[in-house]
Amino acid sequence: MSELAQLMRQYDVLGGFWMTIKLTVVSALGSLILGVIVVIMRISPVKAFQLFGKGYVNVIRNTPLTVIVTFCALAFYNVLAWRLAGPDARSSVQLFWWGVVALSVYHSTFVAEGIRSGINTVPPGQAEAARSIGLTFGQTLSQVILPQAVRGSVTPLGNTLIALTKNTTVVSAIGVAEASYVMKNMIEFSPNFIYAIFILMALGFVILTLPVGMLVSWASTKLAVQR
């Protein structure tokens, strides 16, 4: 047991999880912004934007995250040498930001689909009723459609956040030192403790994702619109 404690001090377990949290929060914001842009394109009345939004979602969603992450690092960082974190930052910082870009791009499709499915839960009659009592387009959207749509998208967006938290482990493929990267190193150097290390790191993810899951379940039941 003391050896395990020694191992935990030797490897930066908390640092790894802190990196996971940082990746999750920043990518969640990124994917929310990108996802909203994509969903606006998809539901806009302009045909070209609709097609682009649809194509983007279908292509990105069917590409493995591993491919996107490694492609960002190889193509944009190695070949194109685009330095996201400024010209002087260390390569670990640069790769962190490319990891964030890859995670945001990938999860933005799920965010977009989540919001769109929320909008689709609103029956057309709601908009028709709103227009027929003389509300303008902006009023219809802000007073009638969106409040109902947000409730409908709580579940898919919450599930996307949980998936994102777990998917941050994939950026270990480009050497960002998050939780699974730390776990890999720990196991490689002390294989005797493989079970203990795995349980420990897995529990870390249970602690990160379980409260979010419970909150989402509670919120989506609480906010559900009875139809």
Binding site: T63, V67, F71, T155, K166, T169, S180, I187, S217
Partner: protein
């Protein structure tokens, strides 16, 4: 599309013209962005870089074996995850309360652990831990790691899908089964489960897409699936971009066809009367809800009475 009809009036001639102008401007912006990207990557996108990707040897030695390895791992994981999922779902819906709790904890645990972490664990288990390191031949270690990692997570998802399928059936199904004299387990076996399994079919195919995508994580534990196999082709590094693009395109083709197939199944089931379908989102969400199906409630209520009576099956 229904979302459009909700949000916008049907555009008149003026709005149509405006839309067309915005569309043209948008397309020009996108084309310029794409051109900038291609210009930046031009050293990798020349004819000779592409030529190395489209040789018979590149396909025979790298792409085709990669696809086969990906399909092999995904298929094995699908079968094993379905089995594990069935066992976990049965446990989680068991009439024995402690067993129900144990399986609930297991399902939540399996679902909370990232697939990559499970893969790393099982892979290193094959490499380092005592019985496996000698038992599993070295060439199989990557495959076992990938399949076990995928089974671990997807088994829990399948369990939730099945349970969600059972719980979302109308209460009347359970009540009708019990009232014509079937026992609790007969009701489950012959009335609820068959309907739940049909209901989860479209979601099962959607989950297969996720499994295929997650096989790419095998790249990290050096299992030669499509991505790893493809990058082996470009060890020199001068044609890495074309190789990636081809690998990504192959993944997209496989997954897009599976997605369309799932949609087709969903629509087909929607047409036939009386069947219902569960979605992945539904299954993910309901797993945290304390409510149990009508059958468990009936079992709990009947629990006290049954102790004094001979078991239902004996009647």
């Amino acid at each position: 599309m229904s979302s459009n009809s909700v949000l916008f009036d049907i555009p008149g001639p003026k709005a149509l013209r405006r839309h067309r102008i915005i569309g043209v401007v948008g397309v020009i912006v996108l084309v310029v962005l794409a051109a900038l990207l291609i210009h930046g990557l031009r050293s990798q996108l020349g004819a000779d870089a592409w030529a190395t990707v489209f040789t018979g040897q590149a396909w025979a030695d790298y792409f085709i074996p990669g696809i086969l390895n990906t399909i092999q791992a995904a298929a094995a994981a699908l079968v094993l995850a379905s089995l594990l999922g069935f066992v976990l779902a049965m446990g989680r819906m068991s009439f024995i309360r402690p067993l129900r709790w144990v399986c609930s904890v297991l399902v939540e645990f399996f679902r909370a652990v990232p697939v990559l972490m499970a893969m790393l664990f099982f892979y290193y288990l094959m490499v380092f831990a005592a019985p496996f390191s000698t038992l599993v031949p070295p060439a199989m270690k990557g495959l076992v790691g990938v399949v076990a990692g995928l089974t671990f997570y997807n088994g829990a998802v399948m369990a939730e899908l099945l349970r969600s399928g059972v719980n979302s059936l109308p209460r009347g199904q359970t009540e009708a089964g019990l009232s014509i004299g079937l026992s609790l387990s007969q009701t489950r076996r012959s009335i609820l489960l068959p309907q739940a399994i049909t209901a989860m079919m479209p979601a099962l195919v959607s989950q297969l897409v996720i499994i295929v995508k997650d096989t790419a994580l095998g790249y990290i534990i050096t299992y030669p699936e499509l991505l790893r196999s493809a990058t082996n082709l470009s060890s020199g590094g001068t044609n890495i971009i074309p190789v990636f693009l081809v690998a990504a395109a192959l993944f997209i083709v496989i997954n897009y066809s599976l997605t369309r197939f799932a949609e087709y199944l969903q629509i087909r089931m929607g047409r036939s009367r009386g069947t219902h379908a569960v979605t992945l989102d539904q299954a993910h969400q309901e797993s945290f809800l304390p409510d149990e199906g009508a059958l468990e409630e009936a079992a709990d209520q009947a629990g006290i009475r049954e102790q004094r009576r001979p078991p239902d099956d004996a009647v």
